[in-house]
Subunit: 173 residues, 2 copies
């Protein structure tokens, strides 16, 4: 049911259309939860049918902006405060890291460098977000956590890439 609450949470922060939610799942929620538009639209319809969300504006090109109803806010608060978190994860990159020792040093080095490039790019995006943050923005700590986590990850990946090189990964490049 996390998709449902991720949507309720995004709508609580800012009323949005399905299209806008889809982009938010690809940007701000990228590192937390993934969803396609084909999953979002039916869920919005269900939320509306159950009275947790409502259409608050119909705009151009048939767009429908949804906002939370009172019971939507209640359901979200209840989930955040009372429901025990499900700690299970699905993270393919982590599976790959777990299995890197099965690769030859050269392939392993390349895999670490590929991940490093991804983390660097993500860090650049986070820095951009941080610089554009309004001074009263309550979202700053989450950005800070992302930057700190990325710093640790990228240092580790660099160490591992170097170790793989020493083991016979025939040097950088």
């Amino acid at each position: 049911m996390s998709l449902r609450y991720a949507i309720l949470g995004l709508l609580a922060r800012q009323p949005s259309s399905g299209y806008e939610l889809t982009r938010k799942f690809d940007s701000s929620l990228r590192t937390a939860w993934h969803a396609q538009h084909s999953q979002i639209y039916p869920e919005l319809a269900k939320l509306e049918a159950e009275g947790l969300a409502e259409i608050i504006k119909r705009g151009a090109r048939g767009s429908k902006t949804y906002g939370l109803t009172e019971s939507g806010h209640d359901a979200l608060r209840h989930w955040l405060v009372e429901v025990a978190p499900d700690r299970s994860q699905r993270n393919e990159s982590a599976v790959r890291l777990f299995l890197t020792q099965l690769m030859a040093p050269r392939e392993r080095r390349l895999a670490f460098e590929r991940d490093l490039a991804y983390v660097h790019q993500q860090t650049a995006e986070l820095r951009l977000i941080k610089d554009q943050l309004a001074p009263d923005e309550p979202f700053a700590p989450q950005v800070e956590l992302g930057l700190r986590t990325n710093a640790v990850l990228s240092a580790w990946l660099q160490e591992q890439a170097d170790a793989a090189t020493r083991e016979g990964g025939d040097g950088p490049q």
Copy 2:
């Protein structure tokens, strides 16, 4: 298809039964991928039918120990080296962190403390694993990464819990 490769990867590290794999998904792979036995047994059957895994031993209580075939090793290597990683994630705890500002200071503080307890417990488990690691164990760097990531996370959670307390979370305990 990550489940398939997670299983192939675990079998490459060590031939195992479905029951043993189920426990590994709950322990060593806990922070990367989650799977129940009801998903693992049918997947093992498929892997065998496709010639990627084979039963190498039948033990007590009907247990079947699977190992990789040559083409199983090839499929795994191909995935690790050639297939572009899927970076999308499903992490409910991250969704919750993203939404913490929607809670009142008191509830927020309790949520951070709940997460802190979980991270502390997980850190203790990792330290235990680290101490029991054989000196030649190639898995040590992954444990180290877990410890470093947890250190960053727990420092951040503590800062956030303190901030929530200052905002009106009526003090620890």
